[in-house]
Amino acid sequence: MPRIGCLGKIVIAALVFMVLMIIGAVFFRLPEMPHVELAAEEVFSVAGFAITNTMLAAWLTILVLGGVCYAATRRMKLVPTGLQNAVEAAVETMLNFVEDVAGKEYGRRFFPIIATIFLFVVANAWLGLVPGFSTIGVIRTGEEGEVLLPLMRGANTDINLPLALALVSCVFVEYWGIKVHGFFRYVRKFFNVSPLLRGTGQVLRGKIRSGVSAISTGIIDAFAGFIEAITEIARIMSFTFRLFGNMTAGELLLFVMVFLIPWVAAIPFYGLELFIGFVQALIFAGLTLVFVVIAVSTREEH
């Protein structure tokens, strides 16, 4: 058998891939476009409270994460091996990242929430790619005839979960800002009226020229503080839609690719989805970390 060089192997792999694509496109066609629904579908209800398939997937994620951490801490050794080694490496990497951004003093205190947000989002995203999610389900008869109701669906595709995480992150940032600076000093950043009042006082006392300039800068400062308050609120929506949009678009992309060329063409897109899930989790946790570091930092007034 002659030696096949590196380029030859790539060419052979590409040819095999194309043959598999053609076989899939000819023999395994889906009869119709997959039915896509943005809102999460209810699987059953408990005392009037609807349990959706994304909720089931989130519970599975919690079980998986808890199970892995439980298994890694049984019979712990001083020099770790196996699962304990892998989990320790992951924790150390995340701790280094958090301490790089937040500094040694605050790094340890911010670490639990930041690491939990990261692990939860990435585990949800990756578990949503396991074969069986969004494909195994029960048939329900709806308005358009028979529709498949998936039993499990990637938890990040339900808008409620990114919204909940964004609210947690916002409360986390505000809590630390108030805890470090005190309630009134922190809120005064948003309602920055003291330069304005000082200017008015100067005008009333007779120093017209300095008073008027102080009033104009005071108006700008007050407006800037107001804009900062609006930015805090807008951050919630930004976090929510960034995570929801990326995950839903990824799920839709996989559906459409499997519909267009069944059987193998979705494999590169699975790789893309793995990468995007990881990056979005990193973004969510990293941005929360950056905002909380800004909130606790003492900025000198100009």
Partner: protein, 76 residues
């Protein structure tokens, strides 16, 4: 024009025009990161981390446009 046609047109315009800005933005970010990396290859870790973070900010705008397009096609 029928309502269906108008919705499809709106969805196409939403994502098409909405992705121009973020595309240019991500390109500018990449250029800045490449230049910084060329000047100082040792700072690779910090540059890459901050580049990914900034790209996610720019990408979020494109995702907003994509959400509008998806809502137009599937929900409205």
């Amino acid at each position: 024009m029928t309502e269906e046609a108008m919705k499809m047109l709106a969805a196409g315009l939403a994502i098409g025009l909405g992705a121009i800005g973020p595309g240019i933005g991500v390109g500018i970010l990449g250029r800045g990161a490449m230049e910084a990396l060329g000047r100082n290859p040792e700072a690779r870790g910090a540059i890459m981390t901050n580049m990914i973070l900034a790209i996610a900010f720019a990408e979020a705008i494109a995702i907003y446009a994509l959400i509008v397009a998806i809502i137009l096609v599937f929900v409205a």
